[in-house]
Subunit: 233 residues, 2 copies
DNA sequence: CGATCTCTTCAGTTTTTCTTAAGAAATTCC
DNA sequence: GGAATTTCTTAAGAAAAACTGAAGAGATCG
């Protein structure tokens, strides 16, 4: 998946570069502009998903700039400003923005805010009708609720650990599909499987202990010999 | 159909103009006032359907203003305020208001709220039963009153701090849902969570100390290992 | 300005979960 | 049937997550 593009507008090259390093590290595409005019020009023929803007620009002030930008598009704008200035004034100037930070700032905090804004933006714009993932899975006497992290077997509450829950969810969401231990490991742990251990197997056993009547003759999680595990449809 | 009239009260001309541009763009009639007194005067001989009000006005503060307005009419009021101020204070001040936003804000979001309030206003006026948000939450021996910020456990009054109250309210309003510490932080503090500390956990502990009989075996706020906290349904 | 209340941070403790490893059991193949 | 392969079981040590208590920073109120 292609990552979002972020435009940094600040008259100080060093600050632009500093921010760029952190953003690139997170995988974002980064563009720079020295002042408001340059930024406006850039926006004309480039797709940008978020703008980081220094409020104190020489040519075009923040408010006017956001006005011009918002006439065209609706990406989030995060403003930067020097702490020494009157906060109230900054608040006024930053009207039209979605968030702001005062300098000096922690780059990691800026990254967090960028992410937070993009989350919001993407949610609102790209998915107007929430095709939300189903959060209740039912099969036979087994009920899995991903919102409350609850699992019930025939009315009885069962407490699964996070890893156990994730494995069960994976299998239950993809009923019929067979997952090898390796495949499960990479899906649940989100890191490459490199050595053969039986960690996954031990977890499978724990789950069976908790949800199966007879863990020798499992009703839900079946073993597919030589291949892996599955839950039947 | 003639569109509604909206009054903007803010001491900064630029902000008034910015908001006006967006509102006009949506077809609303727009009026401006520099301060509370001017607004009151204007209201005497003009029909206004909704007010957008900056909480920090020079002459007449927000609360006094809303009180005066509400003596006469019942149009929705949306308050604006700076982020740096204590959110709780804003809460208090905006008691008479229907909604509020903190600066900086995205004008498009403001428009969305204006529309939403007007929809409600029209609906309520046609059907005078207020579908207002529930402000008393009860579960077992725990009684939470969001209007008065009071909490009682089995008849006994319990004093929670603002942060503690907000966390409890969040969990109690969404019973069954599991909230991670990160999620709680972003919801309650209204800013992105970026560093891992156990601030939320300490607050949870404080709440438990106050409302739980035995804070080792919590009856209300349960820990969901590896995920977060929840209050059961 | 000082007293008080609230929030955050930190380090140490406890609890729960995960991983490892080794032997047992089951299944397949010859 | 017997060897080889794969899966299952068990338990203990390692790791991770949550809890606790205390102290200092910060905000609030008179």
């Amino acid at each position: 998946m292609e990552k979002e593009t972020i435009l940094i507008v600040d008259d100080e090259r060093e600050i632009r570069n500093l921010i760029e390093i952190y953003l690139k590290n997170e995988g974002y595409q980064v563009l720079q502009a020295e002042d408001g005019q340059q930024a406006i020009d850039l926006l004309e023929h480039t797709d940008v998903d978020l703008i980081i803007l220094d409020i104190m620009m020489p040519t075009l002030d923040g408010l006017t700039f956001t006005l011009q930008v918002r006439e065209q598009k609706d990406m989030p704008i995060i403003m930067l400003s020097a702490k020494s200035q009157d906060l109230d004034k900054i608040h006024g100037l930053s009207t039209g923005a979605d968030d702001y930070m005062t300098k000096p700032f922690n780059p990691l905090e800026l990254i967090a805010r960028v992410k937070s804004q993009l989350r919001r933006y993407v949610r609102i714009n790209r998915a107007p009708v929430q095709p939300r993932q189903e959060n209740e899975i039912e099969l036979d006497d087994l009920l899995i609720n991903t919102a409350t992290h609850e699992v019930r077997v025939g009315g009885r509450d069962v407490r699964l650990t996070p890893t156990e829950f994730d494995i069960l969810e994976l299998l239950a969401r993809n009923r019929g599909m067979v997952f090898s231990a390796e495949h499960i490991y990479e899906k649940v742990w989100k890191e490459p499987f490199y050595r053969s251990d039986n960690t996954v197997m031990v977890h499978i056993r724990k789950i069976r202990e908790k949800i199966e009547e007879n863990s020798r003759k499992p009703k839900y999680i079946k073993t597919v010999w030589g291949v892996g595990y599955k839950i039947e449809t």
